[in-house]
């Protein structure tokens, strides 16, 4: 969840592009994982292949389409990316059929584990671990590396970054590719945990948007915090109102935005 939100937050915050197709990248990632696992039996290969492929797809889409709508306001972007979600879901359906698929967790991560008296599936813990590691890497990279600095310059002030001699178009393409790759990674990670089906994109997209907005746009820390809160909210929500756990999450977001109109760690837009 966090991976997805981080990718979305970067694309959204840095480039100010509201990308509804982000959920589609996630779905495609899961289907790539399915195909790779079926063909080679190797989950680990999928873990490498899918993000790379999606980064390429993301870069291509940015170059051909998104580039043209940066100045056009969010609504044009919503329409454009909504168009892509329709295209992706139909392509997936024609390629794989509408049936639900699933892949088993990689060997070594099946079964359940007892932690502090509670039972978790081993794979869930693995997901948690991966998210933590990637989150930490992103955070470190974001704060220290040049990549982070360039991105941050872009987030803070597009004009300023231009003045500093940063090749903005290229940065944008790379950022978009990176965000798409993260979504792909999230898709692969999620594949053994959840079911794979056309339509999984829409379900996850809204949640990802909530995470991003809750944390504040363009802030990796915010995405982390948002993901943690949404996760927690979901668990509490499930025990309080099992039928409508997501309602609690929406309520949480509403409460946060009413008090802090730019999200927890966001800048004023």
């Amino acid at each position: 969840m966090f991976l997805l939100a981080a990718g979305l937050s970067i694309i959204f915050g840095l480039m100010n592009v509201l990308n509804l197709a982000h959920g589609s990248f996630y779905m495609v990632g899961a289907y790539i994982a399915y195909s790779v696992v079926v063909a080679t039996k190797s989950f680990w290969l999928a873990l490498v292949v899918a993000p790379v492929l999606l980064a390429v797809v993301g870069a291509a889409l940015e170059l051909v389409f998104f580039r043209r709508v940066y100045g056009r306001g969010h609504l044009a972007q919503v329409l454009l990316t909504f168009g892509f979600t329709l295209v992706f879901v139909d392509l997936i359906r024609s390629q794989f059929g509408p049936t639900t698929r699933s892949i088993p967790p990689p060997s070594g991560l099946e079964g359940a584990v007892q932690v502090l008296g509670a039972t978790f599936s081993a794979y869930s813990l693995f997901v948690l671990a991966v998210a933590t590691v990637v989150g930490a890497l992103l955070l470190v990279g974001w704060r220290s590396l040049r990549v982070g600095a360039v991105l941050r310059a872009g987030v803070e002030d597009k004009e300023m970054a231009g003045l500093l001699g940063i090749n903005l178009p290229r940065v944008f393409t790379l950022t978009f590719a990176f965000g798409a790759g993260l979504a792909g990674l999230a898709g692969v990670i999620a594949a053994p945990e959840f079911a794979i089906y056309p339509g999984m994109d829409a379900n996850v997209l809204i949640l990802a948007l909530v995470v991003v907005v809750l944390g504040g746009l363009g802030s990796i820390e915010g995405a982390l915090l948002g993901a943690a809160l949404v996760g927690l909210g979901y668990v509490i929500g499930t025990s309080l109102f099992p039928q409508f756990a997501i309602g609690l999450i929406f309520a949480l977001m509403a409460a946060v935005l009413v008090v802090r109109p730019s999200g927890l760690l966001g800048r004023r837009m």
Partner: protein, 316 residues
Amino acid sequence: MIRGRFRAAWRPGLLAILTLALASVPMWAPRFWIYIATQALIFAIFAMSLDFLLGYAGLPSFGHAAFYGVGAYACALLALRQVDGLIPLLVVGAAAGALIAAPIGALSLRTTGIYFLMLTLAFGQMLWGLAVNWTSLTRGTDGLIGIPRPTLAGLDALNISLYERGPFFFLCLVVAILTFLLLEMLARSPFGKTLEGIRDNERRMRALGYPSFRYRLAAFVIAGSIAGIAGSLAAMSNGYATPDLLYWTVSGLALVAVVVGGARSLIGPVLGAFAVLFGQLGLSTYVPRWELILGTLFIAFVLFVPRGLVGLVRRA
């Protein structure tokens, strides 16, 4: 860049053509297409209310379906309790829409831009969840079905029944025209210009002494009540009210209609509503892989018709 101060010359012409074309629909169209045109008209009313928010007040609501759905449920609940007057049913829809819009607007309007969009989405989805789970009132996912069509004293005397498709279409047309005139009047009034000022530059408006929040809230409530009226009509037309009506995809479709048609024009959303509804329906019933085609159309539209359908007309 020189533009007319209030309205350009293309507008009355397009309006007249549109009205005439619509009014003639029941004379030549097959029954099924009258039904679809009715749906499109209702959707157009809904889209116009959204355009008022989006185009004039600059508020991208992504939860507008909440007011549409609440209007439908209010109308349905009343109609199922043997109230069959047209006017009370429309009024209750409008009142319900306004009543819900007031608190949601009061909270959402503390934010702007994309945060506003997400917040309205959140409230919309919460109401949707309520409609699904409050089964004693809404009957959950099954929805309220079997809603009768309303009656209107004068029409009964003339022996015209709103159960007939033609008269009901005209009813929707009349409501749509009234809605258009009302919103057009608001848009051109000092109130409308104030909203536009706030949309363009809230800071300056506040510096000039305008309490921007109150104006925005008023616009939000007005749009909510019109969406409620559209919801009432939908409930009467279909004979049911289901949680689907409140789902975010409905809000999304309305936004698409506004953007496709061209925002800040009030005519654009009408054209957009027809285009989207006919597009979706035409494609889904006659072509396999229709989602692919619809998606491609959207993409092409954004890239090649940036100003919406109204922009095309304006150029022509």
